[in-house]
């Protein structure tokens, strides 16, 4: 499996999981988070390997479609850049109060 794609899909799944059906969630979690093979997932659900493959590919498209519309992952990545700048700025200038505000901001993600 392509590593870059795996990281992206794992992240998209994290952001949009709540919008998926129970079956989509189960397959995606087993495949992307628990690293089970298509065959292992098929066996667990007593369906064909092809059925699992089709479902996961469709779910990946659904996730990319949500990201296209809402850009939650893209915005998250952008915010991380500025959080890192704030962290460095607060450390260089010994600004404890700033660091605390930053931590609270980050906890919202």
């Amino acid at each position: 499996m392509n590593l870059e794609k795996t990281i992206r899909l794992t992240n998209l799944f994290d952001f949009y999981e709540s919008l998926l059906t129970e079956k989509q969630k189960s397959y995606m979690a087993l495949y992307y988070e628990d690293d089970l093979s298509l065959g292992e997932i098929a066996e667990q659900f007593a369906v064909s390997r092809q059925a699992v493959y089709d479902n996961i590919r469709r779910t990946e498209k659904v996730l990319e479609d949500y990201e296209n519309k809402l850009r939650l992952y893209e915005k998250y990545i952008k915010r991380q850049v500025y959080f890192e700048k704030l962290r460095i700025f607060s450390e260089q200038n010994h600004l404890c109060e700033l660091k605390e505000i930053l931590e609270q901001l980050e906890s919202i993600e």
Copy 2:
């Protein structure tokens, strides 16, 4: 129309508009953004007032359902609180660099 509800729905519409159908978007924009009455929208689309009413009520439920699942509006409100704290902190301490980072962070919203 209840003002608090109007503000909430206008904001939810802003966050989740991209997930709605074209018809849902049109009715919601005319009703909540352009402040047209149900009768005026019905006339414009040559449908009954009841049909517009039902569609808007259903869309409101759809928006609340997305917010329940993704909490984008809730998180936005929380971030605004800390952005305000950062703004005050940067002004009190004359930290231009901090103010710039904050402005870039806010532009992501």
